[in-house]
């Protein structure tokens, strides 16, 4: 064994100590439904009830489905991925501060905490996804390879982006708690800046070019559109027509480019993180 700095850090170290990572993730998940009789059933009940509400409100009461088929699915599909993103981002931002007791006392690779928050968020997304698929199947949707690729790309993009932001904001939040508030504000903004409560076509109709193009620079808008391609368009009576009408051109090209950029962002975020984290324990 060589002489080395006492504690190894970095994302590679997080992968090496995946046993601890798995345990942190499992414990966080377990403690969410601690003391409830229904236990994990809640993670299905809550999104299921939410979907039923949407369905009743938009499809039955408001009748929004007039010019848009299955608007409840459109809304819920968007929510699944936005929820994944906000939980990764906000959870990641708070992760270092909430693990203060551990970080200030024992040497653990600090990247572990934002990463575990992303995995917890992913885990909580699974029940929502199951309900989405169930509803889609009821509406006659069948998975197609292109659509699945779109959904997968959308989730990858969201995961990488959320992780990059989580890393940067978690460490920034230690130095200035204002960043936690900034993260909250940004996530509110995300909910309204993606084609979830309204179709993308609405942006084009109301604002036209070049605003509609700028709108598409938002990676979360892109991720939501990819999810719509994966689930919502397939539930409509004429998927090809719906795609042509409600989805922008070059959906995949933009998605791949953005995912690659997000990957670069993760690398840069990790660099910034490791530069700042050496002063984290004393600032917590």
């Amino acid at each position: 064994m060589p002489l080395a700095p006492p504690a190894a850090t970095g994302l590679a170290e997080v992968v090496r100590r995946r046993y601890l990572l798995r345990m942190l993730v499992r414990n966080t998940i377990q403690s969410r439904y601690q003391g409830t009789v229904l236990g994990w059933t809640w993670s299905y009940l809550q999104p299921a009830i939410r979907f039923c509400l949407f369905y009743f409100l938009f499809q039955v009461m408001v009748g929004r489905g007039g010019n848009m088929e299955n608007f409840a699915v459109h809304l819920f599909a968007g929510m699944v991925i936005v929820h994944f993103f906000t939980e990764t981002f906000n959870g990641g931002t708070q992760s270092l501060i909430q693990s203060r007791g551990l970080i200030t006392k024992l040497p653990v690779p600090r990247e572990m905490f934002p990463v575990s928050r992303m995995l917890v968020a992913a885990w909580h997304t699974v029940p929502m996804l199951v309900i989405l698929v169930f509803v889609c199947l009821l509406l006659g949707w069948l998975p197609d390879p292109v659509g699945m690729a779109a959904a997968l790309l959308g989730f990858t993009l969201t995961a990488l982006l959320g992780l990059a932001l989580g890393l940067v904001f978690s460490v920034a939040n230690v130095f200035m708690r204002d960043f936690g508030k900034v993260a909250q504000t940004l996530t509110q903004f995300v909910t309204f800046s993606v084609p979830m409560m309204y179709p993308y076509t609405l942006v084009q109709e109301r604002f036209g070019e070049p605003i509609a193009s700028y709108y598409l620079y938002n990676p979360m808008a892109e991720a939501v559109l990819l999810i719509q391609r994966g689930f919502w368009t397939g539930t409509t009576s004429d998927p090809t027509y719906t795609e042509a009408l409600h989805l922008p051109d070059a959906l995949f090209t933009r998605g791949v480019v953005m995912t690659l950029i997000a990957l670069v962002l993760v690398v840069l975020a990790q660099r910034l993180f490791s530069r700042l984290e050496s002063r984290v324990p004393e600032r917590l």
Binding site: Y19, M23, N27, E282
Partner: protein, 258 residues
């Protein structure tokens, strides 16, 4: 001899933030007061520890012992200079840090062991030994939230003391637990020292330092003021005076740690 810890000109400075909000900073600036001040908690400290040495780290409160220990354990990194170590570091540092009160004693045992760098297989292998040491009986399956403070401390100690380490660090008072448990801890620490593990021990109790260590470092305002023989080190700190009054009962030495 193999060098286990090598510290070269290690310095760690802390900032005292007086005024953190924009308004407070503006007010401080307007009144010509300083907005922040830095000080070196560990100041240009150099030493090496060889394999099998047992080093006692002493000093008054605020002399930088805990910070130096955090540099050695890897919780903090020096601002300048370097701290290098060899092999796995474990020991009685912040035992029980990272306990999740909502989990059972058993789950916390595994979690704590993982935090300290043990694998699943290693924990399985040592499980009986740890449980035996903690002596929790049927409370092992109870949530830690319902533990008495002594039980919590025993579980933390039992895990930490059973991690195989190349460098064993002890920062905590052995003052937790009742007398039988304290004895058990002391016995285990003696065994660790005898087995040739490098020991780095922080204490205010001359009795236990004399017992466990064969070298003493004394810190004073972050600087290394003394490095050498145990009794000379204790005399350097004038810690030997009051000990005569008390007598040299070893348990007192352990108990007076905080």
């Amino acid at each position: 001899m193999t060098t286990m810890i090598k510290t070269e000109n290690a310095t760690k400075s802390f900032t005292m933030s007086y005024h953190r909000s924009l308004k407070q900073i503006a007010l401080a600036k307007a009144r010509g007061r300083k907005t922040h001040e830095t000080f070196n908690a560990v100041d240009d400290v150099s030493f090496t520890v060889q394999e099998g040495e047992s080093v006692g780290l002493m000093g008054l409160n605020g002399s930088g012992k805990s910070t130096l220990l955090k540099l050695v354990s890897g919780v903090m990194r020096p601002d300048s200079g370097s701290v290098l170590t060899r092999g796995r570091i474990a020991g009685l540092i912040a035992t029980g840090a990272g306990f999740d009160p909502q989990l059972t004693g058993r789950d916390n045992l595994y979690l704590n062991a993982a935090i300290l760098g043990m694998s699943r297989a290693e924990t399985d292998r040592k499980f009986d030994e740890i449980v035996d040491f903690a002596d929790l009986g049927k409370f092992l399956e109870t949530e830690v939230a319902y533990y008495s403070s002594g039980m919590k401390a025993r579980l933390g100690f039992a895990v930490a003391i059973n991690v195989d380490a190349d460098i064993f660090i002890a920062d905590e008072a052995l003052a937790v637990g009742d007398r039988p448990f304290k004895r058990k801890c002391k016995k285990r620490m003696d065994e660790i020292v005898k087995s040739g593990v490098t020991m780095f021990y922080v204490s205010h109790a001359p009795g236990s330092v004399r017992n466990l260590c064969n070298r003493v470092l004394v810190l004073d305002h972050g600087k290394l003021a003394f490095d050498g023989d145990v009794d000379e080190g204790i005399a350097f700190l004038h810690y030997d005076d009051d000990e005569d009054e008390k007598g040299r009962r070893s348990d007192d030495g352990l108990g007076a740690d905080i």
